[in-house]
């Protein structure tokens, strides 16, 4: 924390911080409209595809009897993976008292909320009869990993929303009290309601700190569970490629890679679009880059375990699967994901230069795309080999390729996730103002004093 400043200095600084951090809320130009237009159009096209799928049934997808999990499930795993970043940055690093990550925690929570919300929706799109969705809760089988997954996803979503909301309360009060007239009235009405009559009492701060602490501790088991249980959906079967004991940590490690990449991209977009150079500093990108290398190394370690050990043994069924990945039909995709998703980021980012905002963002884009394909490779090739003595099976049961409807719905999920992030960024400051101000040595009294 910087040294305490005089009230006059403090007020001026706070005004500047508030001004900078509300720019995302105030700013509305042609580009904003265009961006919304783009997202909504693509999302609508996806919803239209979903309409067709509901009308005609899952036969419109490429999924058949053998490959009964296709692009939807791969996409689901991807989104669950991305959502895990909320747990890493706003809880794990916080509890470890790592300071630099504070600025980023709201971005991480935005990404987490958007991703986990979409993960839930994607599962519904994968259902042949979405109208029976409630049956999962009414008649679920407690011994089924699918029920565990549904439970943990909803729990994680709730905790993420609370983790996002709690530190937002003082900010909402601040905007309510000090917000300029540039902020549209309806937004300020929402702030007034959501601020819950925040007055900045010491008592209230204490409650927030207390509740945050509980959530941060709670999200550790829940966050680990969400992706571990997702991995169990696969690992609890006997299929080659899924039947492995390291799937839990393997998925969690991979999730951090995808999540860090997503957060860096969003950070960079905010930094350039909302002029937040002094907030998301080069320093933060540098630190994120180091974190990135670390999680990539952990993930690399798990990848080596996951492929080298069975590759050494080459058990009958396993060897079909592995050679399919290493040299067969999926080899291009497999090696591309390993290269762009792991080797490239590690080798580049150990170098300081590549941890600068622009290069690291470009690398993150590659890694994020690679992570998506990595999930595809985890789900589909295994299902294409049922390893049963089958006869007289239609050709299209044995191979899977997504149909245009599936692609439309998947595009919808991306657009919807971006839409959630955009709306959150347009509604609420992307950095916690009061925490940041406190960090700069501005006292709480000044933060919560009403506008003159």
């Amino acid at each position: 924390m910087d040294k305490v400043k005089s009230p006059e200095e403090s007020r001026k600084l706070l005004d500047k911080i508030t001004f900078d951090l509300t720019r995302s809320i105030v700013k509305r130009d042609e580009f904003t409209n265009f961006w919304y237009f783009l997202l909504i159009i693509f999302a609508l096209v996806g919803l239209w595809g979903w309409g067709i799928q509901i009308r005609d049934g899952l036969g419109v997808t490429g999924m058949r009897d053998y490959v009964s999990w296709g692009m939807y499930i791969a996409n689901f795993v991807f989104f669950v993976a991305v959502s895990l970043i909320g747990f890493l940055i706003s809880s794990a690093l916080h509890l470890l008292k790592i300071k630099w990550s504070k600025v980023i925690s709201r971005v991480a929570e935005q990404v987490a909320i958007a991703a986990v919300a979409l993960a839930g929706i994607i599962i519904v799109t994968d259902m042949g009869r979405p109208d029976r969705f409630l049956n999962v809760f009414l008649h679920g089988r407690f011994a089924s990993p699918i029920i565990w997954d549904v439970t943990v996803v909803t729990t994680y979503l709730t905790i993420s929303v609370l983790l996002y909301y709690l530190p937002l309360i003082p900010d909402l009060a601040l905007l309510r009290d000090k917000g300029t007239d540039d902020i549209p009235q309806w937004k300020r009405n929402i702030y007034r309601i959501l601020a819950l009559g925040w007055k900045g009492h010491a008592e209230q701060y204490k409650l927030i700190a207390h509740a945050m602490r509980i959530l941060m501790i709670l999200i550790i088991p829940v966050g680990l569970s969400i992706h571990t249980v997702t991995s169990w959906l696969f690992a609890a079967t006997l299929r080659s490629g899924w039947d492995t004991t390291i799937f839990g940590p393997y998925f969690v490690a991979g999730a951090f890679v995808a999540g860090v990449a997503a957060v860096i991209i969003v950070m960079f977009l905010y930094r350039t679009r909302y002029g937040l150079k002094d907030y998301f500093e080069d320093y933060h990108f540098n630190m994120m880059g180091k974190l990135f290398v670390l999680v990539c190394l952990v993930y690399l370690y798990f990848n080596i375990n996951e492929f080298l050990v069975p590759g050494y043994k080459m058990k009958t069924a396993e060897s079909i699967h592995l050679s399919n990945l290493f040299t067969g039909k999926y080899s291009t995709m497999f090696w591309a994901t390993q290269f762009f998703g792991l080797l490239l980021p590690i080798t580049l980012m150990v170098n300081k230069y590549f941890r600068k905002p622009v290069p690291i963002t470009i690398i993150s884009v590659f890694v994020l795309i690679a992570s998506w394909f990595k999930r595809y490779i985890i789900v589909i090739p295994t299902l294409e080999h049922p390893f049963l003595p089958v006869q007289n099976v239609p050709e299209n049961f044995q191979h899977y390729a997504p149909t245009s409807i599936e692609i439309m719905i998947t595009v919808f999920s991306f657009m919807a996730a971006l839409l959630i992030i955009t709306v959150l960024a347009k509604m609420f400051p992307v950095i916690t103002i009061w925490e940041y101000a406190e960090e700069k040595g501005i006292s709480r009294e000044i933060i919560s004093e009403p506008k003159k």
């Binding site: 905790i159 609370l162 007055k199 009492h201 209230q204 509980i214 709670l218």
Partner: protein
């Protein structure tokens, strides 16, 4: 490329063998053997019984071309392929067998094998047909189950030349139990002089969970009747219920869920949501403080 060459070779070889398969070579000394058993009604009848027991399952009913779809196919006895054999060839083929055709050297005596040939010759167009199947007659079949004594009581009538029904004597009545994949034959009785028959259901017959059996009663193909189906007769033993999925196992249904699993699940979910509820309560407290 290499693969394709090998594949072509394999296919070529296979068709050569396929070609060989058409030709069933019989040693010359065997070919010319003559049938020592006389071609008369008694031998043909015995041959028919043997055929019904040993051959019909694959070769089907004579003249109906309803043999099993094997490759190569078991030919119908009326077919030219069958009849073009000399007696000696038939004898050799039945004795030695080949591929899908079993050998009967051990299971059927030599005399009986020659009788089978007599039966096959019954369908040789160049010979007088000794055994002629009469056209099927109309018949009526009544049956009921006596659950107490565990028997099926049967009464059969047949249409005589004048079109009126008279009791059917000495007719074979087949009794079977309807199962999921077809009828399981359980026995056969002959009707007596009154056209009646009684069939004692074996103690070992297994029914469904409640011991119920669906019994099918039918006459053979010489008669036209509807089969009598006696639904849900309580004459069988209770079907054993495997305990396999009835006990508590990790992946079981909710009724048989393992206690520790249920408790862990509910405990974890309960703890998480209790904590969430507590946090929401803190938010409520913040709101209350704000009102003061």
């Amino acid at each position: 490329m290499k693969k394709q060459i090998i594949l072509t070779l394999v296919i070529a070889l296979m068709s050569v063998f396929q070609g060989l398969a058409q030709e069933w070579l019989v040693p010359d000394d065997q070919k010319t053997l003559t049938n020592p058993s006389e071609y008369n009604l008694s031998n043909v009848k015995k041959g028919k019984d043997l055929y019904m027991k040993n051959c019909k399952s694959c070769h089907g009913d004579p003249g109906k071309h309803n043999g099993l779809p094997l490759v190569p196919a078991p030919p119908d006895v009326v077919s030219e392929k069958m009849q073009n054999n000399t007696d000696g060839e038939l004898h050799y083929k039945i004795t030695k067998g080949r591929g899908g055709m079993p050998q009967f050297e051990i299971t059927i005596s030599d005399d009986d094998r020659w009788r089978l040939i007599n039966f096959i010759r019954n369908f040789d167009p160049s010979r007088e047909q000794l055994l002629v199947d009469a056209p099927p007659k109309k018949a009526k079949l009544l049956a009921s189950v006596n659950e107490v004594e565990k028997k099926v009581e049967i009464f059969a009538e047949v249409e005589d030349a004048n079109g009126s029904f008279v009791t059917l004597t000495d007719a074979a009545v087949k009794i079977s139990a309807k199962k999921a994949f077809g009828n399981l034959p359980i026995g056969e009785v002959l009707t007596n002089a009154d056209g009646r028959a009684e069939y004692k259901i074996p103690e070992t017959l297994i029914g469904d969970e409640n011991g119920m059996v669906n019994i099918v009663v039918q006459l053979d193909e010489a008669y036209i009747t509807d089969n009598v189906v006696l639904d849900a007769a309580k004459v069988g033993q209770l079907k054993p219920q495997p305990k396999l999925i009835k006990k508590e196992i990790l992946w079981s249904t909710n009724e048989n869920i393992q206690t520790w699993l249920l408790l862990s699940y509910l405990g974890a979910v309960g703890a998480a949501w209790a904590a969430i509820a507590y946090v929401v309560f803190q938010i409520f407290k913040i709101w209350r403080l704000g009102k003061e």
